[in-house]
């Protein structure tokens, strides 16, 4: 217990004093996760809306595949990302292995199924009168899509926050595709693992505190958004 309390005291000191290793990992985690979720949101919301509003052969299979992909371990996605980005891999020419953009690519693969599946569910469960009313009022396809997104905005917000939380705390992709390189590709989760292994307990605690803080912040935003919607 004493070790934990001492670790927390030292961690707070590191955070306040602006320890470069801690803050570099923190900013990289935020940047990588935000960029990946931004890209996944553009793709995922479009795909999710399309799946919810259109019929085509094999649609159920596509929806099932996206739902199933939500549970794929990050280490497996990291492995796929590594295979894609390795020099001999199909995307090796991009030279993204062991770079922050490589981690972004991997996290897009992680976030995409979450955003597609939750957006699809949110729009599919919308009141049937919404598309009918939009149609009767002469809304064109773009306005109808914008209406669906607006009416399902809580579900979509939750999808984005869930995807961000998953990307921000994941370890497998950042470790395998990023390589955990100091001041280059190190994120909070990979740094925490490394610092703990090296016995740098206070620094590991400091990074965990930031992870915890962001997780709490996301939970608060989700609770607030849900309450706003109910009211």
């Amino acid at each position: 217990m004493e070790m934990i309390l001492a670790g927390i005291r030292e961690a707070i000191h590191l955070l306040i004093s602006g320890d470069p290793l801690v803050w570099d990992a923190a900013w990289r985690s935020i940047w990588v996760s935000s960029t990946a979720v931004f890209i996944a949101t553009i793709l995922g919301v479009s795909i999710g809306t399309f799946l919810a509003r259109h019929r085509f052969p094999g649609k159920s299979l596509v929806v099932t595949l996206f739902r199933g992909a939500m549970g794929v371990p990050t280490v497996l996605i990291g492995l796929i990302g590594y295979a894609l980005l390795a020099r001999q891999g199909p995307l090796g020419i991009l030279e993204l292995l062991y770079t922050s953009w490589g981690i972004v690519l991997g996290e897009v693969l992680l976030a995409l199924p979450i955003i597609v599946s939750l957006t699809h569910g949110g729009i599919k469960n919308l009141d049937q009168r919404i598309p009918e009313t939009a149609l009767m009022l002469g809304a064109r396809p773009l306005q109808r899509w914008s209406t669906y997104l607006s009416e399902a905005r809580l579900a979509i917000t939750l999808a984005i926050l869930t995807a961000f939380a998953r990307c921000f705390t994941e370890l497998g992709i950042a470790m395998m595709v990023g390589g955990n390189l100091k001041l280059k590709t190190r994120t909070l989760s990979t740094s925490t693992t490394l610092e703990t292994a090296r016995g740098e307990f206070p620094r590991a605690v400091a990074m965990s505190l930031i992870l915890l803080l962001i997780a709490i912040l996301i939970t608060v935003v989700i609770a607030w958004a849900s309450r706003e919607e109910r009211e």
């Binding site: 009141d127 009168r129 919404i130 009918e132 009313t133 939009a134 149609l135 009767m136 009022l137 002469g138 809304a139 064109r140 306005q143 209406t147 607006s150 009416e151 905005r153 009211e231």
Partner: protein, 195 residues
């Protein structure tokens, strides 16, 4: 007068049950007609068919080009999230309605909802919601107006406001579905019973 719409041998079936049956019905342009019948007689289904929302039916349904666009205000209308004004203006851009803001205010005034324009629709009563739904359809100037129980749960000022607003629509064909007789203020050409 020419035909606004013509129906012959219409039958709508869902899960093996007939939910709407009309052997023959013709409505003339600018005619105001009420369709009466008990609950479940198929009035709402008939309006949905006329509006083009239900396209799985047997028989013939013809709507003349002279009465397009068609506007439908459903029995339990859905208002989009946002303000009353947002809902009134919803279809104006796609339908290229000129001076939409001014028209929205005029219609809101007629319907007695001008003080609610900036109010979030989640804070409206059932009768107010119905008037907003009617307003956002009227702003698109439909030639054929289909109203499904527009006076249900409506207080006297609400009924009066709707009757007065409908009274200004001289160039429209109106079909009103209602399980009971309609207010005396509303002068209809004809009433038919289905079911």
């Amino acid at each position: 007068m020419s035909h606004a719409l013509e129906i012959r041998d219409l039958q709508v079936t869902r899960e093996g049950h007939s939910i709407c049956q009309v052997s023959e019905l013709t409505v003339e342009v600018n005619e105001w007609l009420s369709i009466q019948g008990i609950n479940g007689s198929g009035k709402s289904t008939l309006l949905r068919v006329l509006a083009g929302l239900d396209q799985t039916y047997q028989g013939m349904v013809e709507i003349s080009e002279a009465v397009r666009p068609v506007g439908l205000v459903q029995q339990n209308p859905y208002l989009f999230k946002g303000t009353v004004l947002f809902n009134l203006l919803y279809g104006t851009k796609a339908n290229q309605i000129s001076e939409p803001n001014s028209k929205a205010r005029t219609i809101a005034q007629r319907l007695g909802i001008e003080s609610l324009l900036e109010r979030d629709v989640k804070h409206l009563s059932g009768g107010e919601k119905r008037r907003v739904a009617l307003g956002r359809t009227l702003i698109l100037a439909p030639k054929l107006l289909l109203l499904d129980e527009p006076f249900a749960d409506m207080d006297d000022p609400g009924i009066e406001a709707i009757c007065e607003t409908l009274g200004t629509l001289e160039d429209s064909t109106i079909v009103i579905a209602s399980p009971t007789s309609l207010p005396d203020k509303l002068t209809l050409n004809r009433s038919v019973t289905i079911g």
